[in-house]
């Protein structure tokens, strides 16, 4: 098949799927995207919609200079016919309204946590829990240090026992890959068990 005849309609572009990389501001989302992406993370900037601005106002956040939401993403070509995109969700909580769009059709999410300020990732955890979107926790050890055990972190985040908490280093490709694999394995296990949470 070539791209120049009437079969173009059927010349298959690769299928696309996505995983979200979430967590608080400055927790290492873009670093993680960059570590596993085959391209330098790309950035798109969205002007805030009027709806978004309205919500901002309701939240009582007066910071008006932020007129755009930046979205960083990367790409992993899984096979000839399947490409995985990784999207770093906007870190600031006031941009949660964008997460809805981002979450639609996502396989799942990695919520990165910085143990020095875990509360910055609470909103992300809540978001995925409420929508029953599968996720794993990646504890990004800054300077590669991990002062807490996964079990302690699970407890402090009030996560269920079956929630996966993985220690990682967002700068390391292998480490990030392992977190993504843990998420996929979780999805595979859930699918194989046939116990699907209801769709978001």
């Amino acid at each position: 098949m070539t791209g120049s005849d009437a079969t173009l309609q059927k010349v298959s572009a690769p299928d696309t799927v996505k995983i979200l990389i979430a967590g608080g501001f400055g927790v290492g989302k873009t670093t993680m995207v960059g570590s596993v992406s085959e391209i330098v993370p790309l950035r798109t900037e969205e002007p805030l919609t009027t709806a978004g601005l309205g919500i901002d106002d309701l939240n009582g956040i007066e910071e008006k200079k932020a007129t755009t939401v930046a979205l960083d993403f990367g790409r992993i070509t899984v096979s000839q016919d399947l490409v995985l995109y990784l999207f770093g969700t906007p870190g600031q909580q006031r941009f949660w309204f964008m997460w809805n769009d981002l979450a639609v059709g996502a396989l799942g999410a990695v919520v990165l946590v910085d143990v020095r300020r875990p509360e910055s990732s609470f909103a992300a955890i809540d978001f995925f829990e409420r929508r029953k979107i599968p996720f794993v926790i990646g504890v990004n050890g800054f300077y590669g240090e991990h002062p807490y055990e996964p079990e302690e972190i699970r407890e402090s985040l009030a996560l269920p026992e079956d929630a996966q908490v993985l220690l990682c280093d967002a700068r390391e490709r292998g480490s990030c890959r392992d977190v993504l694999i843990a998420l996929i394995d979780q999805l595979i296990a859930t699918t194989a068990r046939g116990s699907h949470p209801s769709p978001p």
């Binding site: 299928d15 799927v17 002007p47 601005l53 396989l107 890959r177 769709p199 978001p200």
Partner: protein, 135 residues
């Protein structure tokens, strides 16, 4: 506030209307490309929707805006909306509107992302797993 010396006053007025009086001139301009539209007419375009240029119609079809032509150049090979937006340095919302125009003119073919329900497809997941293993 960005320097505005070179901006004609007519555009400045239009810009402030679109932005609700905001000062972000750089961001406002893109919506002039869409004739002031801020919402796409159809929801075909997600961030990971694949877009591919279609063969030009006999006779070349209707005249296109330069931005439309740029998009067609960039999607000779399949490309997702998010990447298009980055390469065009335009917001996804603006690109989606321009893509609607091109779709209506039958100048592009779109492929929606792989449908993901919570009843996930084991074969798809295995494929992703294998791809990650190779990283």
């Amino acid at each position: 506030m960005p320097p505005r010396g070179a901006v004609p006053s007519a555009r400045r007025t239009a810009a402030s209307e679109v932005s609700g009086g905001d000062t972000a001139g750089r961001l406002v301009r893109p919506f002039t490309l869409t004739g002031g539209r801020t919402q796409p007419e159809r929801g075909d375009f997600t961030l990971i929707t694949m877009v591919t240029a279609a063969p030009p119609p006999p006779g070349g079809g209707a005249r296109l805006q330069p931005e439309h032509t740029r998009i067609l150049r960039l999607c000779r090979e399949p490309v997702v909306v998010a990447e298009l937006a980055t390469r065009l340095d335009l917001p996804v919302s603006v690109v989606s509107i321009l893509l609607c125009d091109l779709l209506a003119a039958e100048r592009i073919v779109v492929q929606p992302p792989r449908a993901v329900s919570r009843t996930l497809d084991l074969e798809l997941l295995q494929k992703v797993r294998q791809g990650l293993d190779r990283l």
